[in-house]
Assembly symmetry: C2
Homo-oligomer: 327 residues x 2
């Protein structure tokens, strides 16, 4: 993370500085095992810990809505981070990514077997922990199921460049935004907020998560690997039609669009890939996608307009961070 970005985030997280410490303690205690091999894997994935936006959202909601941030808040924030980590471990296998936060990915170091099973281990661990807090297990397991559904929908749509915006948004709502939404809403549930307020937090998280994924998809075209800290250019290679590519297709004349759609139905060579990626950047498709992400951030902000200033400001700051991130 750049120094500037770290400073920004530290400022935004200031109200939950202590709570993030409690979260860290919770996670370290849970990422432990008596088995040397398992311990090695668990210690490795601790290095994947990044900006922790999802648990931070929950803790910020908690800090501004509850009398105090409880152990249950911290526990569920931790469960959400563990679920997120599990998706990362499996994602890296799916993408055969070499790096995660500039660290060698688990499956590259210990093989796919270990990667698949550690992901399963983390999921089941997270579910087991979630049953320790009343009312949490169902929401979190259903959310995880929705995430998987989104990922499967994306797999079923590979090399189908004409899938269209609607399917794209369904995929990213499910695979990405679900967990942001749940982080925000469960923060509210655990503080005893009434349903309408919980729903508003949920909608805020959903919009934020969608913007987050659009930015991610933009960075895959326009980011720098060293800054982003992971392999880039993978979407085109894997036949994933993300928003920048969808916008490019909309902006081409019909004949060129048809030609490109045809080409995208199959894996491309590196030269063609590079050419299309350049087109995506130079035609303004990335910039337009960023504008779309900005619209989701504005929508997110409007969802929480009825809340007290402290909570609103905190969540808006996270949203601003998400839209301005370069990694």
């Amino acid at each position: 993370m750049s120094t500037e970005a770290t400073a920004r985030l530290e400022e935004i997280y200031a109200p939950i500085y202590k709570d993030l410490g409690r979260l860290e303690e919770f996670l370290q205690a849970r990422f432990h095992s008596e088995e040397p091999f398992l311990l090695q894997l668990l210690e490795h994935i601790q290095k994947y810990r990044g900006k922790q936006i999802r648990p931070a959202l929950l803790l910020l909601v908690a800090r501004h809505t509850a009398r105090s941030v409880t152990d249950d808040h911290v526990k569920i924030a931790g469960v959400i981070e563990i679920i997120h980590t599990a998706t990362l471990v499996h994602d890296d296998i799916l993408d055969d990514a070499a790096l995660r936060h500039n660290v060698e990915t688990l499956h590259r170091r210990w093989g796919e077997r270990a990667g698949i099973l550690l992901g399963d281990y983390l999921y089941s661990r997270a579910f087991a922990l979630s049953t320790e807090v009343a009312g949490m297990a169902q929401v979190l397991s259903v959310a995880t199921n929705t995430i998987c559904e989104g990922e499967l929908l994306q797999i079923g749509s590979r090399f189908r460049p004409d899938l269209g915006e609607e399917t794209y948004f369904e995929i990213i709502r499910k695979k990405t935004a679900t967990l942001h939404a749940v982080a925000c809403s469960l923060g509210g549930v655990l503080s005893g907020l009434r349903k309408t307020d919980v729903d508003r937090l949920h909608d805020f998280g959903m919009d934020l998560g969608v913007a987050f994924q659009i930015i991610d998809d933009c960075l895959d075209y326009s980011g720098q690997e060293a800054v982003v800290g992971k392999s880039l250019g993978t979407d085109l290679r894997q036949g994933k039609a993300t928003l920048p590519l969808i916008y490019l297709l909309e902006r081409l004349d019909p004949a060129s669009a048809a030609e490109l759609i045809e080409a995208l139905r199959h894996p491309l060579g590196p030269a063609v890939e590079a050419r299309i990626a350049r087109q995506v950047r130079e035609t303004g498709a990335v910039a337009d996608s960023m504008d779309r992400a900005r619209a989701f951030i504005d929508s997110a902000s409007s969802r929480i307009s009825g809340f007290d200033a402290d909570l609103r400001e905190s969540l808006d700051q996270v949203a601003e961070y998400v839209i301005s991130r370069r990694h």
Copy 2:
């Protein structure tokens, strides 16, 4: 399945004939999706449904201990079958198996991505369903976590032929027997049995599951692929030291054993593999392993000696089936 074995199983399952029908209905309703791609995958893995020993154990316990087999019994039997199916889908990727019940494996047909995510989808689906019955979610998520721990322990022990019996038994208790144990004990919990009886059922399931896995490990050396319905000979290829190999090492003179242990530290060529597999069969190491499985079946039977004759007979029949199975 051979006709004879099918007939045996039909007889054993006669008391729960109707309940298995309800289970089938439950599973078919849950293995459904509006998404065409996901539906395709879910329909494919329905063909994996085999002997259904785990849910049958739960339903047999239910039939003989409760006034009636409830929807909760059926639901949790279904959840256990879904968890089992998830492990199969991921196992097949780990083993790069081509066949499962003589059907093409999911990852071979739709790729590893689909396989990994469908497994995750099934796990999260199972957990979500388990939260619908009070007191089930924690036991089932902890059990699943234990299964993953066993699998990881096995991965960490690959190409370590001198791991010894103790580690072998820890691995198979965790990765296999846990789910048999939970199937039996939760059947009792849902019937309102007292804790000591639930514990006995648990121990029965644990012994049965250990025997089940030993037989599996024997079949990997001595079975016929067409009968067993899956790829065989994979343990040696993957550097897994199972009981037959451990027994072979114990039966060799020290010099030959040391030489073999050294050879087994690395992947072997097909010719060496075939030679060692023959040794395992011809030195009686498989037969000795079968004897050991028999001892676990006897132990299982002794665990339930205090129960009524009906339940005891039913469970003993399943145990006899497990020890005599050839697939």
